[in-house]
């Protein structure tokens, strides 16, 4: 009889997290450069410059894309840490649930800040 070890292979999404982390990092880097360039253009960081930069609708959209990249990036990273260190399933589920709730809350807060009226 031929003995064969069954190779158990789990979910097929390992590459997706890996790619998301890289693409979101690029988005964040580009946004950081854009923000720095705008600050230089406006000659420093005062209220007037800040208001002019964020008064622009396109820049607010870019800020939103940046924040979404940040939150998604953070999710992949924190989830990886939970996978390495929080071995009991219950604990891992709890950690991941709290993190998801926090990240969603941050997303809502971002929308509130960007389009809530204070900046317009």
């Amino acid at each position: 009889m031929v003995m064969r070890d069954r190779v158990v292979v789990g979910a097929h999404y390992g590459w997706r997290d890996w790619l998301v982390q890289r693409i979101s990092a690029i988005v964040m880097a580009l946004y950081t450069l854009l923000l720095l360039a705008l600050l230089l253009w406006h000659g420093g960081l005062d209220y007037a410059a800040w208001k002019a930069i964020f008064g622009n609708g396109a820049f607010r959209l870019a800020t939103f894309v940046f924040m979404m990249s940040l939150l998604w990036h953070a999710w992949v990273g924190v989830r990886n840490i939970a996978m390495d260190y929080a071995k009991p399933v219950g604990l891992r589920l709890a950690v991941q649930t709290v993190v998801i709730a926090l990240l969603v809350a941050y997303a809502g807060w971002t929308i509130q800040l960007l389009w809530g009226g204070q900046l317009a």
Binding site: V9, A11, H12, Y13, G14, W15, D17, W18, M83, Y85
Partner: protein
């Protein structure tokens, strides 16, 4: 020459401990393994593996002053005294410097380390062009000493789920082999979040490899192939 060696015999010792040795070397002793043989003559209860004594078999891998390496290719001139010798980290200790490599080899076997080709074999051999053969350079030389995998934090944390640098180097060696037909299944086998993607490019593997191979590069190429295929 002064040594400080990790000692543990699970049948006798409640806990591992360190023992200090002072070994008189002969003028012909060049490598750390030579000194270890003198040490063994002085205290024959000390256990370690060795065989070829020239960096080919991979038996005498150990942690030398905090860094994994082969005792037989580590020059005595390059190590600081007292030389601290420990077993490879992250694997169960059988005795002294001998570790249980079952988990390591289980991961190695899980990537099917052999050419899979179901077409009828030609009369003489499956030929490769010089370029195709060149792809295997830097991959086939691995001696499976486990220095890399046992230096990898991802392997320490998930030795049952993460294949580890040695296994992944071998995986890439067969993925890129022009004679192998099992590429799709090989990539499928590594596609989950653990087996390949637990590598965070820490590069300890590259740092310690006694054969100067680059598992991190092979792992990067596997990740690229995986993403290219998926998109």
């Amino acid at each position: 020459m002064k040594f400080r060696v990790y000692r543990y015999d699970p049948e006798k010792d409640a806990k591992p401990y360190y023992r200090d040795y002072d070994v008189a070397l002969e003028s012909t002793d060049r490598m750390l393994l030579d000194a270890l043989m003198r040490l063994k003559a002085q205290d024959d209860t000390l256990s370690f593996r060795r065989s070829c004594r020239e960096g080919v078999c991979g038996s005498d891998a150990m942690n030398i002053n905090g860094k994994n390496g082969l005792a037989c290719v580590t020059n005595l001139k390059d190590v600081k005294e007292p030389v601290e010798l420990r077993p490879l980290p992250g694997l169960p200790v059988i005795r002294d410097l001998i570790v249980d490599m079952s988990q390591f080899f289980k991961q190695y076997h899980s990537i099917k380390p052999y050419v899979v080709n179901d077409t009828p074999p030609p009369e003489r051999e499956r030929l490769q062009s010089p370029e195709e053969r060149e792809e295997l350079d830097g991959l086939y030389e691995c001696i499976l000493c486990a220095c890399c995998s046992t230096a990898c934090p991802s392997f320490w944390w998930n030795p049952d789920k993460y294949v580890g640098p040695a296994g992944l180097l071998a995986a890439y060696r067969f993925v890129i082999d022009s004679r192998d037909q099992d590429t799709e299944a090989r990539l499928d086998n590594l596609e989950d979040p653990y087996r390949l993607f637990r590598c965070y490019t820490i590069m300890n593997c590259v740092d310690v490899c006694p054969k100067n191979l680059n598992p991190a590069l092979a792992i990067g190429k596997l990740k690229n192939l995986m993403v290219k295929r998926a998109l």
